[in-house]
Structure formats: structure tokens, C-alpha cells
Symmetry: C2
């Protein structure tokens, strides 16, 4: 008698979540939106509360041989805040659960918290609790973030009309290219521990990997400009993967223009140095924690001069699919090659 | 040049949390209560929201060689709900972050979620989101729970007046004794894999360990009886440890009467079989997830006939300390020997 066993890698993370979500029913009237967006939406009477959580596991999400633990603390908060930003909300409180192996002394934990406190200050969020425990396997950081949003300003993945403009903030692919630089330096160091890492020429991309920002600045600017995106998601798994999510939730397809993809010069040059295609890095790199959103065409003029918001494409009827329009005018089907940790 | 290293075990979990909390400041007016109670308290206008998180790590908090994964799912929700109960609140939403090693197939994750869904039903809470990722080290379950409480009904560890009555729900020590039974059967099995586990005579204590209940039933009954505890905490680390917490937060001492400690007959008999003192198991066992609270003497009559609420002692001036009054009338200083995972 053998028990049936289905490998998780055959489903992938999103397949697994979809499977588990099938059996979940929401009983509370206050549970406005459950699994399936960047954060859950909870009715609090005068406003919505937002709730989201993210776990970072050593050896899966980070490598302490090159990630300074203080930056890791910062990043762990930023990636959570990014989920609240993606709902057009503002984070207010976080709780932090830490699993610590005996490799870590007080000084390491204090350095981690120094980064967490810096991020809490940058993103104006209060650390209000959590749990600290032992771990048999390195460092585990699990954070839940609680935020709020006006009921008439909440933005889901599912909104968005036909012909809406697709926008991306900042630049893309840098975090992935930064990871390549760090991995190379690690291999060089392992081969010859006397070698000093050469990171001077790669400061921007390395920073993108180690200490990403959540784009709360953009959320506040959109609010000031009185622009409410019609749909939004944060770019954690790569642009292509996030475009597919918006497509799945909204029922639209999207056309993305290669020539409009925002790629930093250092990202571009370093990608070329590594024999990587900068466009592929921008489409599939992941971990940039920028925002991807759609706006109604009437809001075009309000954002057209914003230096950090780029019009990269537009919504189109579902049957036209999700495509990249190359510089030569060819259409290539967009494929999500997001980081699938479960298939490692 | 060597870096300073302070072992976490020299501080313990509570020492570490206290140290980290020193550098944290709360900026939001809505952050009513941060680190230092069973849950954070967040002002939502008409009511308070409650937010808490707990992480369970394989090899530290559970052993899948005897914990059925479905029960583990149930327990992971119950221990989080218990933190909301301890604030006199009601849980409404939870988010679940899972770290899964490749040992786990879909069937195992579905069994885990079956237990989670059963607990969500029992405690009337909605699973609204989370995160699923890989883990290099077994199973990690990190849950954050969001609840609510009327502003005039929230209960902290810090309330409570002199001469208040100290109450405990249910019975104590069972979860710890159940763990001893399971550990013994595991050793027997490892020595002879053909042996069948003998658990028939230990069903209650084993259930206390594997599938504890959060005492939401008591919270609802207190509400119906119009009793608001003056202070409260859940009993996760053992009664003595929790009494010390109430004492630290309230500025009172407590007298606990040995003869009033609620101990189930099976717990008692099994403790004796294992050459363990049932009183020590009740005081220091941990993981019972019962509630410990104080009430004003005027509420005595409302609760005196409640079959599952036990008057186990009373508050007293700080200088009288925290003591156990033995059956012979001797006073013994209470010492917290809570489970300190960090000193493993």
C-alpha cells in the first residue's frame, strides 16, 4: 500500500495556492477580499484594512554570505510594504516572526533589527509585535503587515478597462542582474578567499538586489495627482509574470512595448557583460518591487511628465493575448518565467 | 579583530524581545499597544483591531514522526486564535505563510490545510491570504491573526487591582504530559519498528498536546455574563511563567493555591506513571492554551458556578511576591520555567 504523492513542483506556487484556496470559504462580512490579490481587504466601517504576509527563508530567498544582515532586515520590511502599496494603501503596523538558529548572536539580531527599524522609518510603519523562536535551519523572517485604504481608493488586480494604459514605475531587471554580480563575486571568493569583492562598478544593481524600496512615494504622488489606478500589482516575480496576473484577474490581454521598458544603464551594461539579454532580465528578473498598474486614458496627461512612471503598454481584448511588441514591430507572446521557488 | 558575540541563550526569548523593543518607537496614532501583550491593539475608529503572529518550526515546535499533519494544521490556527482570546477579542481573519521542503507533496499540504480549515470553522475565522515558499529545512508555519474587540472590552496583561481573583480555565499540565507519552512511544518505535504505539489510555493528554483548543468559548461566555476580566493572558508557556507576566505588567504579586490547580485525572495519573510531579506539570508544562485572568471580586458570584473557570488564587501587594500556597499551607516562590526555545 503506497500513499499517493503529487510533487508540489508539478503545480508551482500559484497552482498550489489555487488548489488550497478552493476549499476556503469566507464567513465574515468584513472579509471583503481573501486570497488572490496582493493583500486581503477587511471592512472596518469607515475604511478598509489591508493584511498581507511574506516569509523569507535563508538558503531560498537570501544568502548571508553576501547579503549584509542589516540590509536583509530592511528588505524584509520593504517587500511586505510593497504588497500594501499594490492595493493603493498605506502601511501602518507590522508584526515580525523570527526563527533564529544558534549561529546568530545578539549582535546579528540587533543588526537585523537596525535595518528593520530603518525601513519602518522610511515607510512610516510601526513594529507592534511578533514572535521569536529557535530554528534548526538558519534564519527565517516572516512578516505580516497591516495597512489601510479609503474604500473608494482601493485598487485590485482585477480592475482595468479595455484600452487602459499600462504603467510601470522605476526601472526593471536591476535586482536580478545585481544577484548575478553577487553570485559571481561569491564564486570568486570561494575559489580564492584572499580576493576582495569588486562591487564598485555595480553599486546600483547590487543595491537593487540587497535593499529594494517599496514604492510608497509613487502611491502618495498618485494620491496627490488624484489618479486612482484601475488595477495594480507589485513586480516581485518579474514583469511578464505580473502582466499575466493582471490579465488573469481583469479578463484583458496586454500589449507591452519593448522600447518602452525602463532599464537602467548600469543594469543594461552589466547584463551585456554577463551575456544576458537586458530585455529578458527586465521581463523575467523579479525582485524589483516596482509597481505595475493601469490607468484610464483620461489620466494620461496627469502622469505623462512624471519622471518615474513609464507608459509601457496598454490593455487589449483578451483574444489578442499578452504580447511583447518588439522594436522591429514583431509580436512575441509574453511568457511568465517568474521565480518558482517550489520547483527548485 | 574578532566581533563581539552575545549568545541569545544568555538573554532568553523574553530578554531578547525586551532588548529589541527598546529601539522601537510607535509613530501612528492608531498604534494603541505595540510589543508586550498577547496581541497588538490598533485603533480603527469604532473599535480596536487586534494583530498577532506565531511561528511553528519543525524540529523545534513539532515532530511529524508523531504529530499528524492535519492536527498540526489545526493547532497552528488555535495557538494564534488564543492570542486574540487573551485580549478578550474575537478573531476574524488569518494569513498563513508556509515554508515547505521537498519532503512534502500536495497530499501532505492538503492534509495540513484540512486541519487549518477545520480550526477556521471551529473558531469562526477566515483564511484570507498568505505566502507559500520553499524551505531547506522542513516545515515552517507562520500565521498572523487579525481580530477585533470593543474599545471598552479590551483586556491587557497590565490591568487588575489588588485582591482581584485569579482564574484559570480548563485544566493544566495535560499538553506537557501528552508530549511525554508521545516521546516515549517514539523511542519505543525507534527501538522496535514493529511495535504499535499504545495510546489508548492516554487519549486526553495526547489530544491536549496535538490538537489544543483556543478558549473562544470562554470569551463568549464571559461576554454573555457581562464579566470583563481586569487582566488576561493565554497559558502557552506554563502557568507560573504567565503569572509572572501578569505580575510584571500589573505591578501586583499573586498567590496561587496548589489545591485549586485544575488537573485532569488522566493528566495526574499519567504524570505519576512517568515519575513526574503533576503540580510541576501544571505550573510549568506549557502549551495548554487555556486562559489566565483576573476578575474584580464583585464578579465572583457570576462565575462561581462555571464548570470550566477555576478560582486559583488572588492578586496581592507586589512585595508579597508571586507564591504557591501548598496544601500544607507553606508558601513557595513561583518560578517561571517556561519553555525557552532559544536555550535549546
Amino acid at each position: 500500500m503506497s500513499e499517493k504523492r503529487t510533487e508540489l513542483s508539478s503545480l508551482g506556487e500559484f497552482g498550489l495556492i489555487g488548489r488550497l484556496a478552493e476549499n476556503i470559504e469566507l464567513k465574515h462580512e468584513s472579509s471583503v477580499k481573501g486570497i488572490g490579490d496582493d493583500a486581503a481587504v477587511i471592512d472596518q466601517g469607515n475604511h478598509y484594512a489591508l493584511l498581507s504576509s511574506d516569509m523569507l527563508v535563508e538558503g531560498v530567498h537570501f544568502d548571508l554570505s553576501y547579503a549584509p544582515i542589516q540590509h536583509l532586515g530592511y528588505k524584509s520590511i520593504a517587500v511586505n510594504v510593497s504588497d500594501i502599496a499594490a492595493m493603493n494603501g498605506v502601511p501602518e503596523q507590522i508584526v515580525i516572526s523570527l526563527g533564529l538558529s544558534n549561529r546568530f548572536g545578539l549582535e546579528a539580531v540587533e543588526a537585523l533589527y537596525k535595518g528593520m527599524n530603518a525601513a519602518a522609518k522610511d515607510f512610516n510603519v510601526d513594529i507592534v509585535g511578533g514572535d521569536t523562536t529557535a530554528s534548526k535551519a538558519g534564519l527565517i523572517i516572516s512578516i505580516a503587515v497591516h495597512g489601510k485604504v479609503n474604500k473608494d481608493k482601493v485598487v485590485y488586480r482585477s480592475g482595468g478597462g479595455n484600452n487602459d494604459i499600462l504603467c510601470a514605475t522605476g526601472d526593471l531587471g536591476g535586482a536580478f542582474i545585481g544577484l548575478q554580480v553577487l553570485e559571481r563575486e561569491k564564486q570568486t571568493f570561494l575559489a580564492n578567499p584572499n580576493m576582495q569583492p569588486k562591487l564598485d562598478d555595480y553599486q546600483y544593481v547590487v543595491q537593487r538586489q540587497l535593499k529594494p524600496k517599496a514604492r510608497m512615494d509613487v502611491i502618495h504622488e498618485l494620491n496627490e495627482l488624484r489618479v486612482i489606478p484601475t488595477s495594480m500589482i507589485d513586480i516581485s516575480d518579474g514583469l511578464a509574470s505580473e502582466v499575466m496576473h493582471l490579465s488573469d484577474h481583469s479578463g484583458h490581454g496586454f500589449a507591452v512595448y519593448e522600447e518602452q521598458l525602463p532599464i537602467d544603464r548600469e543594469t543594461y551594461n552589466t547584463a551585456v557583460e554577463f551575456n544576458l539579454d537586458p530585455i529578458t532580465a527586465a521581463l523575467n528578473g523579479g525582485e524589483d518591487y516596482e509597481l505595475l498598474f493601469t490607468i484610464d486614458q483620461k489620466d494620461h496627461d496627469k502622469l505623462k511628465n512624471h519622471p518615474d512612471i513609464h507608459f509601457i503598454g496598454h490593455a487589449q481584448p483578451k483574444e489578442k493575448g499578452n504580447v511583447l511588441i518588439t522594436k522591429k514591430g514583431n509580436q512575441v507572446e509574453l511568457k511568465a518565467q517568474g521565480w518558482n521557488h517550489l520547483s527548485d
